[in-house]
Amino acid sequence: MSQIKSLADLKKKREELKTGLNIRINAIDPENHVQVKVAMATCGIASGAKPIMEFFMEQLERRNIPAVVTQTGCMGYCYAEPTVEIKLPGQDPVVYGFVDLKRADLIIEKYIKTGEFVDGIIPVNYETIDNKE
């Protein structure tokens, strides 16, 4: 792979990819993608959220899984940082705690690919009694 040094190289690289692969272009529709949200407040960053976020960005691309990787703030689970919230299309979000590279790999291989839960889920309930019929 040739070194990308400038915006022109970046553009060239992008065009190469466009012709070689069926690449997703421009605005992506988050609803049909796996959404990965890495908690990145002081607690998350100090516990190593950055390499986890980079791992998801790189590995989801490498493993050809259409995904949006973003960050959130502190959710109050500082003790369990780094935490990652995963939302598979059409499903409720799941929050994983104590995510290291090994667990991140498992999350991709098991939960994201097959829907099978992995250790480390933090029970979170997004529904309140008020919303119940």
Partner: protein, 182 residues
């Protein structure tokens, strides 16, 4: 925080929460002047005056859930350890500027760390915010702008993992070129 880039990542979260649309990260390091300067500037809501006075106190935060905020206090601590200081200027409604200085050669000055990775993460996670990143050394300077990049590539958004990984590689190469070491 293990390095300065993580402090930057953390302090920029304040700008994001302040609803900024444009965020500038300006780093200059000079062995000649023995000075490193990190300036983060945003056009967010600004800091109310009564909080601005004591914003580097860890027991002051604008959050409502917990009465604790460590982003700026940590930056100040790291800066003070390395013979520098943090200066914050802010105006209600027009934005905030955080300037941290460090003695470049100070033994307690943390390394800058993976700043290319941090910039990429910020771009990836905040597609609606325009980022401008400048880095100056004795050897030269490098500038990366999300606006310029979007226009040049003729894309609406940079949130594509392949593209982002390539952007990171590009920033890394250019930083190496002007002698920035992690």
């Amino acid at each position: 925080m293990m390095n300065l880039s993580l402090n930057i990542l953390d302090v920029v979260q304040n700008s994001i929460r302040a609803g900024a649309k444009h965020i500038t990260i300006d780093i200059s390091e000079s062995a000649i002047k023995d000075l490193m300067e990190i300036i983060i500037e945003d056009d967010g809501s600004g800091i109310p005056e009564e909080i601005l006075q004591k914003v580097t106190d860890p027991f002051v935060t604008t959050r409502t859930k917990r009465k604790l905020g460590l982003g700026l206090p940590l930056l100040k601590q790291h800066s003070n350890l390395a013979g520098g200081d943090v200066e914050i200027t802010s105006e209600r409604g027009s934005g905030t500027k955080v300037k941290a200085t460090f003695m470049m050669s100070h033994i307690d000055r943390q390394p800058i760390g993976d700043i290319a990775g941090v910039v990429t993460i910020l771009i990836s996670a905040n597609p609606e915010i325009d980022f401008l990143y400048r880095h100056k050394t004795d050897k030269g300077s490098y500038e990366f702008s999300t606006v310029e990049t979007r226009e040049f590539l003729e894309v609406k958004s940079l949130s594509d993992n392949t593209l982002l990984n390539n952007i990171k590689e590009m920033i890394k190469f250019n930083l190496g070129d002007i002698g920035v070491s992690e």
